[in-house]
Assembly symmetry: C2
Homo-oligomer: 337 residues x 2
DNA sequence: TAGCAAATTGACAGCGCTGTCATTCCTGCC
DNA sequence: GGCAGGAATGACAGCGCTGTCAATTTGCTA
């Protein structure tokens, strides 16, 4: 029934060990032999048994993706990253498991340990905000588990992917400035996310460069959710002199701002320009469509996984790569009234 | 370093096989022995090696969750189901893998076969619309892979979870009728989802029971997305005599309807009542909050997985369970104007 | 109290692969 | 032409567990 490595070996007239070598792309196999073995594998539709490989080779061909579904309300973002990670794992014939792990939980490390002991992943992909949770990083190093991060805050010797979010945020605020806006508000994201800090920093950079002193009333705290965007906007739009533009730290909050603008009888973009960050599918579906920064989440998940897999293959090859951003100028921003 | 079953056996002064029996909850072990072995496992923090178990026992302790990320735009819904499935798998010490599989792709079955051959899942959890994709179900049976479905359309000998969506839809339309509405519109979901049919059927049941003949102009096609809700609402609100209430087949579309109402200068709920289906987090964040049907997605994922795992443990024990729904009457519905 | 069936326990092989190390096969060079 | 040295290949054990079946113990009955 099942085709085993031994069967392939017999068909190709070589020893099982040689088939194993071909399977694992090892050196010291003549090209002719390699071809012959590959042909036999193909012809017999051979599929190595992952458990056998794992048991004998002492590795699992498993990558675990960790996320915190408590402090990360945007399931769309996570879903896209997950898709990307999965794609990369698939291409390299690794399997992937996902794992919610809540930083707020007291037994975080115990759960993490259990994950490692139970499943022996060869490596781990970290998503915000876990990318910078010190106890986790410490434990990963102690247990000698390679990991790659998506958008880590601290960029040391970490593997993974980043985007220059600060530059991106600055660019989008520059866009608002270029449209003549001066009273530009910012809605901050969840505090412990690097994203929140960078986007705020980019906002400040742009404002400072334009010579506009910061008005504390225009910088309000949000939480990356639609509801927090609505609340923040209500606060901003109730101001004696309200802003003419709002840069929200993500699209969900920007949508909330647009919603709230409706409540106040303000037209977007005529009365209020609004922009977000992430370029979620939602942003294109709104009317007017949302001006935002394209963050290629799926691609970032894929690249992070690829760095990890590269590192697993030949130690030391993993890097921290940076992906480019691009502004998506759409209907929600216009010249200042 | 690693604690093996053999080590536990030595510590408990029994044979490895007996430890294995305890590990797998097999019969024919005296309670005293069982306790002794359990104590030893506990004391040594023994973790069975999944690959070894899998290889020797010819099972993988793996559940694959299949989804179609093409025809299923609501990542929130999938994320919740995934969380639920994961929770159940965890509790039973199974691992879970997720797998996007697009019905539209020509090589669907080939990909599915590859999944099974490569990973040997002990069972599969199906999410809509895969729950009713005939070629997939056929292949699952041919390959003898047990599966459980979340909200399957056809309820035969299928294992899994359902909700009486038709009753639920009827209940929510009854709610609108009780508020005095007569011109009630419905926005349908994606065609090949059971959910779309049931919700439409429930709408019709309620209208018929109230003696209101169906007005075809009031029943428009949507696609479960926010944008499709906006489009559908524009169509409805442009009608010579527009509806006083809209029942959208899910919350995302209902949100689109509320959005479009704003465009037309209509106040919700004073001028237009809107209700959705699913009780996504979004529905509570809107203002006014959305009247909707609570569909416990996370719980449903968990229960589907539990039926599957039960079936795996003792063949024949899996069932098709039904979860109750509940209306969430909130601010988006009010008496007819 | 012997005698027998059922319950409990254990010995042993083997799941399908890879690591280690031995063996064979080539090269190129004196 | 013979030989060193490296490249290619293979033999074999064993990864950590479970299935099979045999051995032993237990609990009953007569």
């Amino acid at each position: 029934m099942r085709v085993r490595l031994e069967d392939v070996a017999r068909a190709a007239n070589v020893s099982p060990k040689t088939v194993s070598r071909v399977l694992n792309d090892e050196a010291n196999v003549t090209e002719a032999t390699r071809q012959r073995v590959r042909a036999a594998m193909e012809a017999m539709d051979y599929r190595p048994h992952p458990s056998a490989r794992s048991l004998a080779g002492n590795r699992s061909f498993l990558v675990a993706m960790l996320y915190d579904n408590n402090d990360n309300p945007s399931s769309t973002y996570l879903a896209e990253i997950q898709d990307g990670v999965l794609e990369a794992c698939d291409a390299h014939r690794y399997s992937m498991m996902v794992r919610p792990l809540r930083m707020r939980d007291g037994d975080f490390i115990r759960r993490f340990d259990a994950l490692i002991s139970d499943h022996h992943p060869d490596g781990v992909v970290l998503t915000p905000p876990l990318t910078d949770y010190a106890p986790l990083l410490k434990r990963l190093r102690e247990r000698n588990v390679p990991y790659a991060s998506v958008s880590p805050l601290r960029k040391g010797k970490t593997l993974g992917v980043t985007m220059d979010e600060q530059q991106a945020a600055r660019a989008i605020v520059d866009h608002l400035l270029a449209l003549g806006h001066r009273r530009i508000a910012h809605v901050i994201g969840i505090a412990n996310h690097g994203a929140s800090r960078w986007r705020l920093a980019g906002y400040r950079d742009a404002m400072a460069a334009a010579g506009i002193p910061e008005d504390p009333a225009l910088v309000v705290q949000g939480a990356f959710t639609f509801a927090s965007g609505v609340a923040a906007a209500r606060q901003l739009l109730s101001l004696p002199t309200r802003p003419t533009a709002v840069f929200a730290a993500n699209d969900d909050m920007a949508t909330g701002v647009m919603w709230a603008a409706g409540e106040y009888g303000l037209k977007v973009p005529q009365d209020l320009s609004v922009c977000g960050f992430d370029d979620t599918p939602l942003s294109r579906q709104l009317w007017p469509a949302l001006t935002t920064v394209q963050q290629p989440s799926r691609e970032m998940g894929k690249m992070a996984a690829e760095q990890l897999l590269g590192e697993l293959r030949n130690h030391g090859s993993g890097r921290l790569v940076q992906v480019p951003f691009s502004l998506q100028i759409r209907g929600s921003t216009a010249a200042a009234p």
